[in-house]
């Protein structure tokens, strides 16, 4: 069953069916939550490439997200006259531009700092995230501390025979990026070049001895990861329509780390499950908040992080994908 989803077209059609189902089935609040899930999916999957597959520790993912979000928002503001299809395609372009700029930043940050190991890398990336935020606060043409408000969101598309509502056109774009991210990373880590990511994680010295350029490999992973973080940021800018430097704090980076760790480092499907879980959990726990009177959500998050690390050090899925579990437990014969 899972094998079919390895074909991008089929997964795209399945996602589309889910989208149409959400459009007719549920209210706008749940639809928005679904879009947040997609943004977090992009963050978690891209961070997994660095933290999970390559074994480096980046704590500055929010910084790259900010670069993507601001770039896309700024570009769209330059073409106020665009509507309909023109706007939709321009958003495709502007978000990609945000991703590219973010990838360039990833290269600039990664090139020097990925020579450092473990903890130092975590601190440098954290520092980079903070520097981006402080720089944004000081940039007046990007709104300074007030940020950018009323960013154009995805338009409704008129196909002549029927009109595609704004939610579905947003959903279309979001699924495009999520699928792109998923399949790029999924196929990358299974290619021979991608194996070098895993070798760096498993044993850096041995990898170097086998002729893997470890720094270049790490930088490659970092650049791809920051590209998709930028995409996630751009998408968020147009879904939420408002961004400010305080959107992209250290906590945003920690959020993505939590998703990667919870889902399992080196498991894309694990990241998907964790991103869905982490995004919907706070919404589901709203009832609990009314019950207890205080916001216990972050306390539950942090405790679960500690317990997962102690009890299941490799995350819920470990390094395995859902498809492996499916083969092992549900359908052992195939």
């Amino acid at each position: 069953m899972f094998n079919a989803f390895k074909t991008p077209i089929i997964s795209a059609l399945a996602l589309l069916a889910v989208g149409v189902g959400f459009y007719f089935g549920v209210n706008a609040y749940v639809q928005l939550t679904l879009l947040y899930v997609f943004i977090n999916l992009l963050m978690a999957m891209s961070l997994n490439l660095v933290n999970g597959y390559t074994g480096q520790f980046s704590l500055g993912h929010a910084g790259f997200m900010a670069v993507g979000a601001y770039t896309s928002a700024y570009l769209v503001q330059q073409v106020p006259s665009f509507t309909g299809f023109a706007l939709w395609f321009f958003l495709l372009f502007s978000i990609a531009a945000g991703g590219l700029l973010s990838a360039i930043f990833g290269f600039l940050v990664g090139q020097p700092s990925l020579r450092l190991k473990g903890d130092y890398l975590a601190i440098v990336t954290l520092g980079f995230g903070e520097i981006i935020r402080v720089a944004l606060v000081n940039m007046d043409f990007l709104g300074g501390p007030r940020g950018i408000a009323s960013i154009p969101s995805y338009p409704a598309l008129n196909f002549g025979i029927f009109e595609m509502p704004s939610f579905l056109s947003t959903y279309l774009a979001a699924s495009f990026w999520v699928l792109l991210c998923f399949f790029v990373i999924w196929r990358l880590v299974r290619s021979s070049r991608g194996k070098s990511f895993l070798s760096v994680r498993e044993d850096e010295i041995a990898a170097e001895a086998m002729g893997v350029d470890t720094t270049a490999t790490k930088v490659r992973a970092f650049v791809i990861s920051s590209f998709f973080a930028g995409i996630a940021g751009g998408l968020m800018a147009h879904v939420v329509s408002y961004i400010s430097p305080s959107t992209f704090t250290f906590l945003k980076s920690v959020d993505s780390v939590i998703m990667v760790v919870l889902g399992g480092m080196g498991s894309l499907t694990g990241s998907i499950v964790a991103a869905v879980f982490i995004t919907t959990m706070p919404e589901l726990l709203r009832g609990l908040q009314e019950f207890t009177g205080v916001d216990l959500r972050m306390v539950i998050y942090s405790l679960s992080l500690i317990f997962v690390m102690i009890l299941r050090p490799k995350g819920l899925f470990g390094g395995t994908e859902a498809i492996d579990l499916w083969r092992k437990y549900v359908k052992p014969s195939s």
Binding site: N51, G55, F57, P112, S113, R115, L116, G118, D119, Y120, A122, I123, V124, L126, G127, F128, E130, I131, V134, A135, V137, N138, I205, F250, V254, V257, V261, M265, V294, D295, L296, M298, V299, Y301, S302, L303, L305, I306, M309, I310, P313
Partner: protein, 300 residues
Amino acid sequence: MQDFIQHIINGLNLGSIYALIALGYTMVYGILQMINFAHSDVYMVGAFAAYYSAKWLKIENQPGPGNLFILVLIAMVVCSLLGVAIERFAYRPLRKAPKLNILITAIGVSLFLEYAGQIIFGAEPKVFPEILNNDYLFEFAGLPIKTFDVTVLAVSVFAMLILNYLILYTKIGRAMRAVSSNANVAAMMGVNVDRIISFTFVVGSSLAAIGSVLVGMKYPKIEPLMGMMIGLKAFVAAVLGGIGSLPGAVLGALLMGLSEEMVVAYFSSTYRDALAFGLLIVILLFKPAGLMGKSTVEKV
């Protein structure tokens, strides 16, 4: 010129507070090779311990050195207990785990303390009790020197001297140095490694507690997230000086305090938070072991 000297004094004050916190980071790193992200929140808890005990003992409006001493002592005890508990329940089960897991656990503990703090203490800032009058003491180079500046400097220098004595001239200090240079060999020589690690957390957390009361006295506004920025900067200071080295941490912290004060005074206060990380990145690129750290050669 007078301005400049005033900035130097402020910078030294800030630097010595950073130093007290940075020492905790560097000691734990020296012994466990981990960044104790929760250290900054232990510091926050210290400030709240002092705040609530001052209320409970009804000494919040009676400034005096005696009360300062009592509050520092209480904060030290509370922080030590908290530090030992964190080590025992969160870090010890992961002693043999990959470094990444320990780092993530530390972030988890830090987030837990911050959000539990927001629920227990309330998220809105509180006014720290007046525990010392900021009197005019004497004049230096035409500048009035006040109690706070002198107290912060004196207390932190005193604490560091005691730490120096403890590490260099006592039995337990020698054991700490032994564990930090090689835990396995130290264990073979009869050092109880677990106890030494707990003791390291006691010392580090106590220093953070002293820092927290001094900060509360000088900048009387405390909140559950107060540890975040100062903790990051203290950590950066520790890395700057060479993590694992005690004199390095103090040197790094003083440099950091002075340069931050200078940036605020002569450049722009909005960049003060970016400065720390910019400084860190530059240092790590050119001298990855920090100013006073030893660079190690990796053997296969």
